[in-house]
């Protein structure tokens, strides 16, 4: 996993491959497409959820919000009708501070990765969220408690412990690139690529796997489950894209990343939107995103509603 002599290429080679670098992402793409004042819409998950529900995007159902320290003790009261729940910071990013409880009593809480926590530890976790430990910039935060997503059986073989999610980059309203992130033992159930999760590039038109990487190196089978990654097909692909495309109408962000999970019972649900989606998706797709974005900017029609845009993107493949 650690290479002593990392390979180095010339900038011209990356330019030829249409790779988008971090500086160009920040300067050319984000600064020109995402207005600063729109950020709170996606940075605050309470707002995002409310907006999503208004526009008709499925999200994990909200159980409750804990806003102040002296309400932390109430959390058992909030979840009393639920067998399982998720605690997350409203201003978190990259899955930081997310605690999934799949079984619990008054004293013991079992997490998704089978860790057993005491009441005090869960209390502590919520209180950490409130003091801003996981929020961007460390400001005070609120804790969201929501329903747990039920891992769809279809992905059983593809992920170790954690829930796989689909990340779609939406540029000026059109889905540009997609990948699926699969947790591994090494990533300890998380879907973060830099922690060792597997990234699978997904074809925008078909929802089929194109390529897969772990630690920036191509692989074809899941390192823990041994599943053939190239056989991966995201079910309900159109519905996935629908959420992503609607995310644009919902926020007005020209460049955004939509994180979508597939629930066994409720279908694709939006987990969160990201105004500064990372660039690893290019590695998972084994393809630069720059020319795709340029093509969308120059050639795709303006002023369509979400359905027309979705049809347009899916239609490009057929024609």
């Amino acid at each position: 996993m650690f290479k002593w002599f990392p390979e180095i290429v010339f900038p011209s080679q990356l330019r030829a491959a249409g790779v988008l670098g971090m500086n160009a992402r920040n300067y050319d793409i984000i600064a020109h497409n995402n207005k600063r004042r729109l950020y709170p819409l996606v940075d605050d998950k309470v707002q995002t959820k409310a907006l999503a529900n208004k526009i008709g995007i499925n999200t994990p159902r909200l159980i409750g919000v804990i806003e102040v320290q002296n309400k932390v003790d109430n959390f058992l009261e909030l979840v009393k009708n639920f067998d399982e729940f998720v605690i997350k910071p409203a201003h978190g990013s990259g899955g930081k501070g997310v605690l999934v409880i799949k079984k619990y009593t008054d004293k013991e809480f079992v997490t998704a990765s089978e860790k057993v926590l005491s009441y005090n530890e869960v209390y502590q976790h919520i209180s950490n969220i409130l003091s801003g430990l996981y929020s961007l910039g460390g400001q005070y935060d609120v804790a969201i408690i929501e329903e747990m997503v039920h891992f769809s059986n279809q992905f059983q073989d593809y992920s170790f412990q954690g829930i796989p999610d689909v990340r779609v980059i939406v540029y000026q309203g059109y889905p540009a690139m997609a990948m699926m992130r699969l947790a591994t033992r090494e990533s300890s159930g998380r879907a973060n690529l830099h922690q060792g999760a597997v990234g699978v590039g997904i074809d925008i038109q078909t929802g089929k796997a194109i390529s897969a990487v772990q630690h920036n190196r191509p692989i074809s089978i899941h390192p823990d489950t041994g599943a053939n990654l190239m056989g991966l097909q995201v079910p309900l692909w159109r519905e996935h894209l629908e959420i992503a495309v609607k995310g644009y109408d919902m926020t007005g962000l020209g460049y955004l990343g939509a994180d979508i999970v597939l629930d066994k019972f409720r279908g694709p649900m939006m987990l969160e939107l990201n105004a500064r989606p990372g660039l690893a998706i290019q590695i998972a797709n084994n393809r630069g995103i720059r020319n795709i974005l340029k093509n969308i900017h120059n050639n795709y029609p303006r002023g369509l509603d979400w359905e027309e845009r979705l049809n347009y993107v899916l239609g490009v493949a057929k024609s």
Binding site: E7, V19, G21, D28, E121, N216, P218, I283, G288
Partner: protein, 510 residues
């Protein structure tokens, strides 16, 4: 989109160009009028030469004249003053004139001059035409000896003047030469004889009196050199070694046969010279230089006219922009992510105070101990703000203990603990342990190593005396850095680390 980017870049590039021009001009100005150096030669020697004239009045009106160093030649005169009660003081280019009615008691007059090296003026002694050569009047025997000596001198090395000087400084002394010299000859006598011999050869020569600058020197006689007019130039010679050229440490008070001081209306007069050397920072002298160059108005509004402690604070501040530039390059061009944007810069600044190795070891020690204790703290499940506060206090305690240990064991590594920014250190510990818990030990250690790496690079840029001097002396450079930083803000190319990160993508294009 692209069009806007271009116009921003053009604007910033124009700004950069202008700032370079401004900086270049002001550097020229500061070097020319304020005497700034490009190298950190921080101290300039200032020599204080004091001539103490004393005499007993005879009861007549008193007139005293003292030779003074001619200004704007080899040395610049920083300050000049005369301590003489009840005297009228006037001055000419070459002499200080004092006059007063008669006094009774023994008189003491002090003339003090503060000199410093005039780099620009060195070696540019103007060559005025010499007067007609006065041939010495010698009897026949002496003339014969003189001619004999001149003949003998032909065997010596050097030019005509040097040949004669060498002849007079032979060991053991030549008998013929000795016979030509008065018994117990002084420097002055030697010089006079040499000048006479040169006159026989039709070379115009004169005595040069001055003071050789030696620390704590006290003397009753001025030092003497010889100047000869050859090839339409006055050339100066040491009367012992025959070495040509004015030594660095010789201040000329007077040229030609005139005395160093004259007293009329007094007897038993004597003059005593004392020399004192003091070092002053060249920035201190800059004000005086500016005054001499009639540029003091601009100087008054520069940072160099501030009190010294404020200047030192500013000198420290002037390093920041450069350190910031390093951070910007490391992040946006190289692409190394660190804990906190400016944390490495602050660590580097501390390293400057502590010294590199002791600082680095000490810092690692603090972080190490801190992370271990923080790991124990996390078991207590404290709230965030009290917990980070606890870490801050812990850091302070660790620093205290290290300082005490360092003092008692005379261990400078531990003593340097005092220089690290406490809050920053605490945050590094906090972040490190959170990263450790959340993303694993490898990521945490990686981040710390990257931060320290950037700190080390920054350190080596800012620790350089030369760079610090340049940044302070030519502070307009910060304007240049400002525009470079802003231009980097429009850099949309790949970061160096991305050339590795995305290497797999480039391959298939081949």
């Amino acid at each position: 989109m692209l069009h806007k980017l271009k116009s921003v870049r053009i604007l910033l590039s124009i700004g950069l160009l202008l700032s370079i021009i401004i900086t270049a001009y002001s550097a020229y100005y500061k070097i020319k009028y304020w005497g700034f150096n490009l190298t950190p030669k921080q101290k300039t020697a200032v020599w204080t030469v004091e001539a103490h004239v004393s005499f007993t009045p005879t009861g007549e009106n008193i007139k005293v004249s003292i030779a003074r160093p001619s200004p704007s030649k080899e040395f610049k005169v920083l300050n000049e003053d005369v301590l003489a009660k009840n005297y009228d003081i006037s001055e000419t280019n070459e002499r200080i004139l004092l006059s007063s009615p008669a006094h009774r008691k023994r008189q003491n007059i002090y003339y003090r001059v503060l000199l410093y090296d005039n780099i620009e003026g060195r070696g540019k002694t103007p060559a005025e035409e010499p007067d007609k050569i006065i041939q010495p009047i010698l009897d026949e025997q002496s003339l014969n000896v003189a001619n004999q000596i001149l003949e003998m001198s032909e065997t010596q090395k050097g030019d005509t003047v040097q040949k004669i000087i060498h002849l007079f400084n032979q060991t053991p002394p030549d008998e013929t030469v000795q016979s030509f010299m008065p018994e117990r000859s002084s420097d002055k006598d030697t010089a006079e004889v040499i000048i006479n011999l040169l006159a026989l050869k039709n070379i115009s020569a004169r005595m040069v009196r001055g003071i050789k600058l030696l620390e704590e020197k006290k003397t009753f006689v001025p030092d003497i050199m010889i100047e000869a007019y050859m090839d339409k130039m006055w050339k100066i010679y040491d009367i012992y070694s025959g070495k040509k050229g004015l030594p660095d440490d010789f201040v000329i008070f007077q040229r030609g046969g005139q005395s160093m001081f004259d007293v009329t209306g007094g007897q038993n007069s004597s003059i005593k010279y004392s020399v004192m050397k003091s070092l002053r920072s060249s920035f201190n002298l800059a004000g005086h230089r500016a005054k001499l160059a009639n540029q003091s108005e601009n100087f008054g509004y520069s940072i160099y006219s501030l009190p010294l402690n404020q200047q030192n604070a500013i000198k420290w501040l002037m390093i920041f922009p450069l350190a910031i530039l390093v951070v910007v390059i490391m992040r946006n061009v190289i692409g190394i992510s660190t804990m906190g944007t400016f944390t490495p810069m602050l660590i580097a600044m501390s390293l400057v105070e502590t010294g590199f190795w002791s600082g680095l070891i000490c810092f690692s020690l603090i972080i190490g101990i801190g992370v271990i204790i923080r790991a124990a703290l996390s078991k207590l499940n404290l709230l965030l703000v009290p917990r980070i506060s606890a870490v801050v206090i812990l850091v302070i305690l660790i620093i205290q203990i290290l300082a005490v240990i360092g003092y008692n064991w005379d261990w400078s590594i531990a003593s340097s603990a005092l220089f690290f920014p406490i809050i920053i250190t605490a945050w590094i510990i906090e972040r490190a342990s959170i990263t450790w818990e959340e993303e694993g030990s490898i990521n945490a250690i990686k981040q710390i190593i990257y931060s320290i790496l950037v700190a080390i690079v920054t350190y080596f840029v800012i620790v350089n005396d030369y760079i610090r001097h340049i940044m302070f002396a030519f502070n307009e450079l910060n304007l240049v850095i400002l525009f470079i930083v802003m231009l980097l803000g429009t850099y949309t190319g790949y970061r160096f680390t991305e050339l590795m990160r995305f290497a797999s993508l480039a391959q298939k294009e081949k």
